[in-house]
Amino acid sequence: MNDSVRVLVAEDNEDHLFLTVRALHSMEGTDLVIDTVTDGQQALDYLRGENDYVGQSRPDLILLDIKMPRVDGLDVLEKVKSDPQLRAIPTVMLTSSERPEDIDRAYVLGGNSYVTKPASSASLSDRLTALGTYWTQLASLPSTNAS
């Protein structure tokens, strides 16, 4: 994984946000810049660099809570993955439910991975490593949708 990875965490619950950020920071061997937003609309603004986030640089990773006010996590996911500028950013869904249906839906919409809250640093580390491996491999394939 690269150094100085920029992560966007979108989570409306303060405590869950704190715990997730804490878990991220506890991962060994990474230098993270963590930005947080507390609802789906803010997340979209951030990603698109609009409204309050003009000039915001794109994150390298998105951690997305499924249930959020204004714009739902799954809606954000859908919009991100249908936007050619954003779809390449790996997205990890933060779920409180292990229900296969919810997880499947996240995958169908293009989510790259999921983590069950409360996210432990170990599980986050797992996911991100896996994503990193995938990413590296993708980079070595002839890419059709490089952004």
């Binding site: 405590d15 869950h16 715990l19 409180s96 439910s97 292990e98 296969p100 809250k117 409360p118």
Partner: protein
């Protein structure tokens, strides 16, 4: 011969007088136009018959008074067919021109009768004018009688049996009376004896038919009424399966109407509002409503509200009967019939009320149940979030300050963590349980054998020493996730609570012949005491300490199993294990409706049979 003649004369006189009296009584009981006309008709005939008896035979040189009396009697006799005609008219449509013709003819004849110079005796040869008069008389009588007979016969068409037969009896009586008169055209001496005898009998016979026509005896009415009785019985049976009041009454009222011979029947409730009607004229419903509202009705007896409407109160309602000219006056038998009908209607209405209240209760209960389930779901859903936070912080505390917190503090922290985790499991299970009820189950074909094997294999990672043997299992139509949950819970339950790590399980199924299957999950573990075998299916019920320390179960597994099985339409229970001394056997009944019938169960391979 003469003796017979005399007897017949007396008999006829008596019969026709009796007929007159019967008609008069009928009119007295049912004050309607047809009855009045009938009373007039036969009353006069009866009077004539009686008085004719008293008058001596025509003799030469009789007195003026006698002659006049005789003329008057004959005049009445002349008018008789006209009166009968008017009676028959009250059932059918008016035909003004024919009416006028008839009236004119009758008047003319009466006039002719009164101006007859004299009445020849039996032995005289008849003068021409007399013959002419007799001819006119007979023509008048015959034509009118035939018209009446035809009219009465046809008016019976399409009516209930009793009425129809009555009308036809009257028609026959009319005809017979005509036939009785025809011999009068020829002088008595010119007729053969046989004809004379028959001629004397015919009036009596016609009287009989008339009598059967407008006052048939109760037993005869019962016999005639049989087809309608059958129809009513059939309707009553049909009603037993009907659920709504409208449909019940739609069956009942037409048949009731026909049995009584009414024009229409209506059911009104206590307040006088029309509930249902049959055969009512437009607007008649409101009329009846007004009539019933205005009266205090004695229960159990029919009361005439108007000349046409009879009201019969029953519990909570009133049966209103609209009579027609054909409806017989109500004898004891008709009242009995009406009472029977009333009782039956009451029963039926009560039953319908009960069904309605049961429906309402059921709807309320279902609503309450749904609300409860929604609440449980919502609650467990909302509890998740703070649960996550709690667990997160506790784990954080343990992770970052675990080595600083020592002694009792460490223990407290450990218990906090354990409780938080347990609570999370509970909430998760509760959520799952409430979902089983809420979810619209998408059913598909589920091969239970394959599924059970899969579950068993997965579980054996966690419980490596446990063993599972499997027999054939049916293919069912169910929600696959739920089936997986069912088997996971049952197998895991046995493995956890078996009492020893190397517990052996048997999963098997037997067809119970009517398309249903009984699946059994058996173990040879420590078993469940009989007293608890129902309790364990309760939510959050756990028996004693867990056999494996550190493995906690929330106790919701079996409750979920029961819910899943019941959603399938089946039943789950616990019995003693058949193959070991101590273990238990969970038996699950899968009803035929949930079994996929085209495939029969085998060990994993699909065999299409039957």
């Amino acid at each position: 011969m003469d003796a017979l003649t005399e007897v017949m004369r007396y008999l006829n006189a008596v019969l026709f007088s009796a007929l007159g009296i019967v008609c008069y009584r009928a009119w007295h009981l049912q004050r309607a136009v047809p009855a009045r006309r009938l009373a007039l008709t036969f009353g006069s005939l009866g009077a004539v018959a009686m008085l004719g008896l008293l008058l001596p035979e025509v003799a030469e040189g009789e007195g003026l008074g006698l002659a006049i009396a005789r003329r008057v009697l004959i005049a009445i006799l002349v008018v008789f067919p006209y009166l009968l005609y008017r009676f028959a008219k009250s059932f059918g449509p008016d035909r003004a021109r024919f009416d006028n013709l008839v009236r004119a003819a009758t008047l003319a004849l009466v006039g002719a009768t009164l101006v007859l110079p004299r009445i020849p005796t039996e032995t005289e040869t008849r003068p021409v004018w007399f013959e002419a008069w007799i001819l006119a008389f007979l023509l008048h009588w015959t034509i009118l009688s035939v018209v009446v007979a035809r009219s009465l016969w046809l008016s019976g068409r399409g009516l209930p049996t009793v009425t129809r037969r009555r009308m036809r009896m009257l028609a026959l009586g009319s005809l017979l009376l005509t036939l009785a008169l025809l011999p009068a055209a020829v002088p008595a001496s010119g007729q053969p004896n046989a004809v004379q005898v028959v001629a004397r009998m015919l009036p009596a016979l016609s009287a009989l038919f008339f009598y059967l026509g407008f006052a048939p005896p109760a037993w005869l009415r019962t016999v005639w009424r049989r087809p309608e009785q059958q129809a009513l019985l059939a309707a009553e049976l049909a009603i037993l399966t009907e659920q709504t009041r409208e449909r019940v009454l739609n069956h009942l009222l037409p048949q009731a109407s026909k049995v009584i011979g009414a024009r229409g029947v209506a059911l009104l409730d206590d307040g006088g509002t029309l509930v249902a009607g049959y055969g009512l004229a437009p607007g008649q419903g409101e009329e009846l409503s007004v009539l019933v509202k205005g009266c205090k009705l004695p229960v159990g007896e029919p009361t005439a509200l108007t000349s046409e409407v009879l009201a019969f109160p029953i519990t909570g309602a009133v049966l209103a009967v609209v009579t027609s000219p054909y409806t017989p006056f109500f004898g004891a038998e008709e009242i009995g019939l009406l009472q029977e009908l009333g009782v039956f209607t009451e029963l039926v209405l009560q039953r319908e009320k009960l069904l309605e209240s049961e429906r309402t209760s059921r709807v309320l209960a279902e609503k309450a149940n749904t609300e409860l389930e929604t609440l449980a779901y919502g609650l467990s859903h909302d509890l998740k979030s703070p649960m996550i936070s709690l667990l997160g912080y506790v784990e954080l505390l343990e992770g970052e300050y675990g080595d600083v917190i020592t002694g009792d503090g460490a223990h407290y922290l450990a218990r906090m963590t354990a409780s938080a985790r347990y609570m999370q499991d509970l909430i998760q299970d509760l959520l799952e349980l409430s979902r089983i009820g809420r979810m619209q189950t998408e059913v598909e074909k589920v091969h239970l054998h394959a599924l059970a094997e899969e579950v068993s294999n997965t579980l054996q990672d966690t419980y490596p020493e446990a063993t599972v043997s499997m027999g054939p299992l049916p293919v069912v139509l169910a929600n696959p996730l739920r089936m997986r949950q069912l088997f996971t819970n049952l197998l895991e339950n046995a493995m956890i609570h078996g009492g020893r790590p190397d517990v052996h399980l048997r999963v098997d199924a037997v067809a119970s012949g009517d398309g249903a299957w009984e699946i059994s999950v058996e173990d040879d573990g420590v078993g469940i005491p009989a007293v608890y075998r129902e309790k364990v299916f309760g939510i959050f019920e756990r028996l004693g300490r867990d056999s494996r320390p550190g493995q906690s179960s929330t106790g919701i597994g079996l409750a979920a199993c029961r819910k899943i099985v019941e959603a399938l339409g089946g039943h789950i229970g616990i019995a003693d294990s058949a193959h070991s001394e101590s273990g238990v056997r969970f038996h699950i009944t899968v009803p035929a409706a949930a079994v996929h019938t085209r495939a029969s169960a085998t060990s994993g391979r699909l065999e299409l049979s039957r």
